[in-house]
């Protein structure tokens, strides 16, 4: 049975529109099912219940060393350098979150600490796997976003000092990872965030290990004593 086209035009159009809507709902439902399933099987999946940003606040822009500090006012007794201003700003942010910020000199001290060889002082690399593989502080543990290594927790529990780092600058992965470690039971007073991170480490020509932890492949092996940026460190 066929309707008269002049009479059935409007209902047909409505039916066609309804079909498109229904089709869109089906696409959305099937797509969502596909998407969550794909995320589950993907080697780089997002864990739905994990808090990736325990710092809570959105990524904040930090002042960097080449940004001018606030002008000196009449009541301000001495000018502050841009680098100091950036460091102070970062330290205040860390303190707010109950974390301790360390600079390159302190990081190097920990690196040369005799307890480092006994795993009593450990470095934790909070960057992505590819970055870790390209180069990390020798013997640092990988604690990237996709495969948070369960052994890191037990190692950190045994350690006396844990130094967490990422790339420095605007990167806040080290803060987030430090807070994650704190949430799984690592005492606050053990946790240190190396603010300058890998960028500063590399800039100072310090030793870098590539590939897996303890691969033994070092990019720089003999320039520690030659660095001018971090003098007066006991070896």
């Amino acid at each position: 049975m066929k309707d008269n086209p002049t009479q059935s035009g409007a209902p047909d159009r409505l039916l066609a529109v309804g079909r498109v809507f229904l089709e869109a709902v089906l696409v959305a439902a099937l797509g969502a099912a596909f998407a969550f399933a794909a995320n589950q099987v993907s080697p780089k999946s997002v864990a739905l219940t994990r808090d990736y940003f325990p710092t809570g606040t959105p990524h904040q822009v930090r002042p960097v060393a080449n940004v001018a500090p606030p002008p000196v006012t009449g009541t301000n007794p001495a000018p502050i350098s841009a680098a100091d201003f950036a460091a102070n700003f970062l330290a205040a942010q860390m303190k707010e979150k109950g974390l301790q910020l360390i600079d390159g000199r302190q990081a190097l001290q920990y690196f040369h600490d005799p307890r480092f060889q006994q795993n009593k002082v450990v470095f934790v690399d909070a960057r992505k796997e590819e970055e870790y593989q390209k180069g990390h502080i020798p013997e640092a543990y990988e604690f990237g976003p996709y495969h948070p290594d369960a052994t890191v927790r037990s190692v950190c529990l045994q350690a006396e000092q844990v130094v967490v780092y990422c790339n420095g600058g605007d990167c806040d992965d080290s803060e987030n990872s430090a807070l994650m470690l704190r949430d799984v039971g690592i005492a606050n007073q053990k946790l240190f965030v190396y603010g300058g991170g890998m960028t500063e480490w590399l800039a100072n020509n310090l030793p870098v290990e590539t590939g897996a932890r303890n691969s033994g492949i070092l990019l720089k092996t003999n320039t520690v004593s030659g660095t001018n940026a971090l003098p007066n460190v006991n070896k």
Partner: protein, 154 residues
């Protein structure tokens, strides 16, 4: 006319496939970019978006390339594209105010899967995608489709 619409369908499918895969390869990076929009404080919701959206785009891209449920897919994409473009525009305005620069000089990674881009270029791209999607929604691009209408009329 329909040959151009088919080319448009393939182009749109390819774009979504590419953008989806580029995000799916590093969804935590995408999550970080999403966080900057400050859309929600719920980490579960934000994680769900970062987990699902890239693969959802891949799914839609594949449907368009194959020519399955084209109008329904186009409608779904339109519903995603329009508010997302609004959110990107809003963020660009905030950045412009913060940096005190001309609007078109604002450059940032919107989390679209194409990296850092100047905002005017990004908005133009999105406008083209919206127009292309609307073109498919009204019924063009039927040729070389596996099943243009998923729900066939009886």
């Amino acid at each position: 006319m329909d040959a151009s619409a088919v080319a448009g369908r393939w182009l749109l499918g390819g774009v979504f496939l590419y953008m989806g895969l580029s995000k799916a390869l590093d969804p935590v990076d995408f999550l970080k970019l999403l966080r900057q929009y400050d859309l929600t404080q719920s980490s579960l919701l934000l994680n769900s978006i970062a987990a699902a959206l890239p693969w959802f785009e891949v799914f839609c891209g594949l449907l368009l390339l194959a020519g399955i449920a084209v109008r329904g897919t186009a409608l779904t994409l339109l519903v995603m594209l329009v508010p997302f473009t609004g959110v990107v525009f809003h963020r660009a305005l905030l950045l412009q105010a913060a940096q005190n620069i001309p609007f078109c000089a604002v450059k940032f990674d919107c989390g679209c899967g194409t990296g850092e881009e100047f905002i005017c270029r990004k908005l133009l791209e999105n406008l083209l995608l919206i127009l292309l999607t609307a073109w498919l929604l009204v019924g063009h691009g039927r040729q070389w489709s596996l099943r243009f209408n998923l729900l066939k009329s009886s």
